[in-house]
């Protein structure tokens, strides 16, 4: 019984995605059955649209910059939180989680207010700032559980044996937490790539992919929006799968290495 329910649940989640994916390959502009054959015409149409290509490029730039900045800030924070105790740790943990506990609308209007007051022109830079703010809590949360199990005495042992802080980080810390950080960086990229609610307030003249899909949705319905949507879906889901596989593979390697150690 419960098993059937859970598969229906999964079907509910994936059905809409499956339907627009199917119709993005539809030979006719109609969005209903009967299905009249496959064609790639909407995809060639969307790639011939310079606005689409621009916004895709902008989204990739913003996503990559966000991932880099969030990874640096987030990794430092997670390593720092492992060293802090009690009230300081709780307080900072709460603060770092704040940006996702509020609806995106609040972050969007608060940021646009700040940018206006300090006369910072809205551009891809302000979009990136907003995306770092939005992805940082997810990054810290994703990395934190791994770092809580991280044994600080390993670092201290390395220091006692004469390693510099940088050497300790490169040779001890990074190999242990690296895969998790890699996975979380991909997560940040995917979240940035899809972010719309805050972006709509802080963007300037350069549009990102979600902004472009939004303006297509508000204009006349043209089937090439299906193609744009599916490309955006494929990008974010594909990235998440790659990130997930990466983490999973690394963990398996680590586990089998440990198994070998205990055998020997």
């Amino acid at each position: 019984m419960l098993r059937i329910y859970v598969w229906l649940f999964v079907a509910f989640l994936y059905a809409p995605i499956a339907i627009i994916t199917l119709f993005s390959f539809h030979a006719s502009p109609s969005l209903t059955f009967p299905f009249e054959g496959f064609s790639l015409r909407w995809y060639s149409q969307i790639f011939a649209n310079p606005t689409f290509v621009d916004s895709l490029r902008n989204s990739l730039i913003v996503g990559a910059s966000t991932a880099v900045i969030t990874t640096i800030l987030g990794s430092l924070t997670a390593l720092g939180l492992a060293r802090l105790k009690g009230r300081v740790q709780t307080m900072f943990g709460l603060l770092a989680f704040g940006p996702v506990a509020l609806p995106g609308l609040f972050l969007g209007i608060a940021l646009v207010m700040l940018f206006a007051q300090i006369s910072l022109q809205r551009s891809l830079v302000t979009v990136t700032i907003a995306h770092v703010l939005f992805t940082l809590p997810f990054f810290i949360e994703a990395v934190r559980s791994r770092i809580e199990y991280f044994d600080l005495s390993l670092e201290e042992a390395a220091r006692d044996l004469g390693a510099t802080p940088l050497q300790t980080f490169r040779l001890v810390t990074l190999p242990i937490i690296g895969p998790t950080i890699g996975g979380a960086a991909i997560l940040s990229f995917a979240l940035s790539f899809d972010e719309f609610i805050i972006t709509v307030f802080v963007s300037g003249n350069d549009t990102t992919l979600p902004l472009m899909i939004w303006s297509m949705m508000r204009r006349a319905v043209s089937p090439d929006i299906n193609a744009a949507s599916v490309l955006s879906l494929a990008m974010s889901i594909g990235l998440i799968l790659i990130g997930g596989l990466l983490v999973w593979y690394q963990r398996r390697l680590a586990l089998s290495a440990r198994a070998k150690d205990t055998e020997a």
């Binding site: 329910y5 809409p16 939180l81 603060l95 209007i109 709509v200 949705m217 879906l233 998440i240």
Partner: protein, 290 residues
């Protein structure tokens, strides 16, 4: 002792860059927004002053209550439905499956772009959409059902679809703390399925249930994109009104004041929900002798 202090100092130094970032781009903007809610706007210029005009203007308009009620309704329905739908699935994942494949499958769908999902539902529910044309081809209806799209129904259905994977994630991690042995112990002591649920599982996964409910509620009640694209004329919410102040109409202080009123209603909802669980005796930390 020396070692502990040094460790703490390193910790603070590592956390400092993020703290600075959050200070500049989160705390200061939030304070600024609050201060601005007491300012006035004239011809798109902000006039720093101190007045409650924006608050009284919002609270004295009948329409404002209606839109806020719509926003809270969207939030409450979405939260209730999402938690009810995902709880059995979370239970199944935690206690009945060994691998994590199913869990990951559900989680991955969370990354299906938000706007694309709104678009997908619009395609499905529209008057030329899949449901209407199928029903008409089957001869069940003559006219397309207009209520499917541009209605609170469409908004809530889509919000549930968007929020459910996240609610499930929070519930799964909460249920992982309730060990199978506790449930078996309760069963051995003669508890029925309902008692196991209300006396063991729910009180022990309390934080996760409250978290899943509140997250879903806050995000959906504050969402302005879904109701704007799918909600129709009757589905207008405070969120849309606030967003418009900052995008087109341009009275920022008024928008800021409405945002803080909306935030206050969220806080009240939180206290009421926690109180409700307390009254229903689903909260932990009390001994029930009856």
């Amino acid at each position: 002792m020396m070692n502990g202090n040094r460790r703490e100092a390193t910790g603070l130094a590592l956390v400092a860059p993020s703290f600075l970032f959050l200070l500049v781009f989160f705390i200061i903007p939030a304070v600024l927004l609050f201060v601005c809610s007491f300012w006035l706007a004239q011809a798109f210029r902000l006039i720093p002053t101190f007045t409650f005009d924006n608050y009284s203007r919002a609270l004295s308009a009948g329409g404002f209550y209606l839109l806020t009620l719509n926003a809270l309704k969207n939030g409450l329905w979405t939260a209730v439905i999402s938690v009810l739908l995902s709880f059995p699935a979370a239970y199944f994942i935690v206690y009945r499956t060994r691998g994590n494949l199913l869990f990951y499958l559900i989680l991955v769908s969370w990354f299906a772009s938000y706007l694309v999902r709104i678009y997908a539902w619009r395609t499905i529910l529209g008057s030329n959409g899949l449901i209407n044309t199928t029903l008409m081809q089957l001869g069940l209806i003559d006219q397309p059902l207009e209520v499917l799209l541009f209605s609170p129904f469409a908004t809530i259905l889509t919000l549930v679809h968007i929020m459910v994977p996240f609610a499930l994630l929070l519930l799964v991690s909460a249920l992982r703390d309730v060990r199978k042995e506790y449930i078996e112990a309760a069963r051995d002591l003669g508890a029925g399925g309902f008692e196991v649920l209300t006396r063991v599982i729910l009180p022990m996964s309390y934080k996760g249930v409250v978290g899943a409910f509140m997250f879903t509620f806050v995000i959906s009640a504050g969402d302005f994109v879904t109701p704007q694209l799918l909600g129709g004329r009757d589905g207008m919410t405070t969120g849309i009104l606030i967003a418009n102040q900052f995008r087109t109409a341009g009275n920022w202080p008024f928008g800021a004041a409405m945002a803080f009123i909306l935030l206050a209603t969220f806080l009240m909802t939180y206290f009421m929900f926690v109180r409700l669980l307390d009254v229903l005796r689903l909260a932990p930390g009390r001994r029930f002798h009856d």
